[in-house]
């Protein structure tokens, strides 16, 4: 972090700053909710959950909602309105953890892309500013450092914040972030060397707290020839196929498209229905079931293999990136304690 210019702002002031931005942005902040943390739209008087470890549900849903309307149609066969509406308020994702910010940079590769662009995601993404909050207290099952991440990783963020206790240290990462801080300059003061030194110390400590280290530097190459390896027969055995790992995952992006009908749309003005896309999961048997009855991934084995291969082999092939940021959500939330790290280790050791 050489020559980065840091600014300082009091935590209390941040609430006022955000309050002043509500006209310009839909602001999302981490809040406490029944003992868990989650992202919620910032409202006047809202407090921020500064000490949260990470949110239970990943903030990917801000940019890629669990369900969203692609368009409405009817009463005849015409498409009524085309979302996404461009313009409108910007999005400010405030206080996202660095692993989740990195996940956004991965989703950008999927929904952007050279051949087809996804207008729903990109329209939102274009007007989004990502302000991440470096991790002071990684969790026991965080393993971002195994995936080239770290508590103050900057990928995907426009501005990165550091919690120094009373104060927040802010550094711009992108041009967008620079402009953001410039525009809000009145809230900030210049940071001193001691502030930066304090931040470095906290980050060093935080980095040391990440004990979970797995060696997956060459996982892509290792999986290249492992499609028929014997470990696939083993590692799925406990899996219930509930799909929770994919729903919590900040990089999982598979979706379904379905039509919903409005049964009360009797008059000629009301749309008859809408086409909706919603998250889907490769862990479900219907995901790949053909109308003919044929299913190329008929058992848990093929589906678990797809999940691992997609993240650690296919995406590296197609996007030059491993689609895992080491947030640990799949590990924490699996009802039968399947641990992705253990699977990766067993893949390595079986060979």
């Amino acid at each position: 972090m050489e020559n980065k210019i840091f600014k300082l702002i009091k935590k209390k002031e941040i609430l006022k700053l955000l309050e002043s931005l509500t006209k310009e942005y839909n602001i999302f902040v981490p809040i406490e909710d029944n003992g868990d943390a989650r992202f919620s739209e910032f409202k006047s008087g809202q407090d921020i959950y500064w000490d949260y470890r990470n949110t239970k549900i990943s903030p990917k849903e801000i940019l890629f909602p669990q369900a969203e309307t692609l368009f409405c149609f009817g009463p005849e066969a015409e498409v009524k309105s085309e979302e996404p509406a461009s313009g409108g308020k910007g999005y400010l994702i405030f206080g996202i953890r660095p692993c989740d910010a990195k996940a956004i940079s991965l989703l950008d590769k999927v929904f952007g892309g050279e051949d087809f662009e996804d207008p729903y995601y990109l329209e939102r993404r274009k007007k989004t500013t990502v302000i991440s909050l470096a991790c002071n207290k990684p969790q026991i099952d965080c393993f971002c450092t195994s995936l080239n991440g770290k508590p103050d990783n900057e990928e995907g963020a426009d501005v990165i914040l550091f919690d120094l206790g009373e104060d927040i240290l802010a550094g711009a990462v992108t041009k967008k972030g620079e402009k953001f801080i410039e525009k809000q300059n009145k809230w900030f003061e210049d940071a001193g060397q001691s502030d930066v030194a304090k931040k470095d110390k906290i980050m060093d400590l935080s980095l040391k707290k990440i004990k979970s280290q797995i060696d997956i530097q060459n996982i892509k190459e290792r999986l290249d020839n492992d499609f028929t390896a014997s470990f696939w027969d083993e590692i799925h055995q406990k899996c219930l196929g509930c799909g929770i790992c994919t729903y919590f995952c900040p990089t999982c992006h598979c979706f379904d498209i379905t039509d919903e009908i409005n049964p009360k749309a009797a008059d000629s003005k009301t749309p008859k229905g809408k086409r909706v896309r919603c998250w889907d999961s490769c862990m479900y048997p219907l995901f790949t079931l053909h109308a003919s009855g044929h299913n190329p991934r008929p058992t848990y084995k093929e589906r678990m293999r797809q999940r691992i291969m997609h993240k650690f082999n296919y995406c590296p092939e197609n996007y030059s990136e491993i689609f895992c940021v080491g947030c640990g959500r799949c590990v924490r939330n699996c009802p039968v304690n399947i641990d992705l790290r253990e699977m990766l280790i067993s893949i390595e050791s079986t060979k």
Binding site: F71, A77, V79, D118, I257, K272, A291, R297
Partner: protein, 282 residues
């Protein structure tokens, strides 16, 4: 930014029931907006998402030739569990549905120019091969290709689709048509009897300077490839087209992949050489 998820409205102009069991129909669709028709420029072997608002979408190979300018055709088999295909089969001429696409790579037609072609189809999978055959037989294109052989098989004579067209082609002297059925089904039948791979072995067409194109039920494709190799076709010269469950058609929704390849945008057309390098998960 144009929205790839919004279908273009089309009107059903004509419906032809293709087989005796009456579960395969060909739909002639005309774009309601001329601009959409201009936008929908496709290659042989590409597919599109047929959209029925309120029901859903289904990826279907384009059956008409790129040379047909007035309409686009899709031949659709109805499956009892196929929501969209079942509803589509109950529609009438004049009904409006949607189409979005074209998607996928299609056959590399330029690469085939100056070559002999052996076209092998099974059942209703003849659709995109029919698009290709029609394209080649067009008077503007025929001289670009050398000898053309079409080997087409189905379970019984009543299950051969595009019958009248096949009869027309059979009268031509610039295409060799070989028809086969697994079973005569008691019907009057002058063609071959036997499964496609066996008939291929019997007929033993030459592989010199020849491209083989195989589309059919996967089991047929699987058993047709060894005799092709025996005849001297190399894996790079054997093309097939794959099917997968799809939603978006544009490589985002994440379900139609075989290994790192998405059938919707890297396929559906692959050479046998490419298939050999892909995991066996289709």
């Amino acid at each position: 930014m144009s929205n790839p998820y919004v279908p273009m409205p089309v009107t059903i102009e004509k419906i032809v029931i293709e087989n005796k069991v009456r579960d395969i129909k060909t739909f002639d669709l005309r774009f309601n907006d001329k601009k959409d028709a201009d936008r929908f420029k496709f290659n042989c072997g590409q597919f599109a998402e047929i959209s029925i608002l309120g029901v859903g979408e289904s990826p279907i190979g384009i059956a008409s030739s790129p040379m047909d300018e007035d309409f686009v055709q899709f031949t659709v088999k109805k499956y009892p569990t196929g929501t969209v295909t079942s509803v589509l089969h109950n529609l009438c001429t004049g009904d409006v549905i949607g189409v979005r696409g074209p998607y996928g790579n299609g056959f590399p037609m330029k690469e085939f120019e100056g070559k002999n072609l052996l076209i092998i189809g099974g059942g209703f999978a003849l659709t995109t091969l029919r698009s290709l055959t029609k394209y080649i037989l067009h008077k503007k294109n025929r001289q670009c290709f050398k000898d053309i052989t079409l080997l087409y098989g189905a379970r019984g004579p009543g299950e051969l689709i595009y019958r009248s067209e096949l009869d027309e082609w059979d009268k031509r002297d610039d295409i060799n048509i070989i028809l086969t059925v697994d079973d005569r089904c008691g019907l009057d039948w002058k063609g071959c009897v036997g499964m496609v791979p066996n008939v291929l072995k019997e007929q033993a067409p030459g592989s010199k300077d020849c491209i083989a194109l195989v589309c059919g039920p996967f089991i047929m494709v699987k058993y047709t490839i060894p005799p092709l190799l025996d005849l001297g076709f190399i894996p790079e010269k054997i093309f097939t087209s794959l099917e997968m469950r799809m939603k978006c058609g544009i490589g985002k929704c994440g379900r139609c992949n075989i290994g790192s390849k998405y059938v919707c945008k890297d396929g559906p057309v692959f050479t046998y050489k490419e298939l050999q390098g892909m995991p066996n998960e289709y």
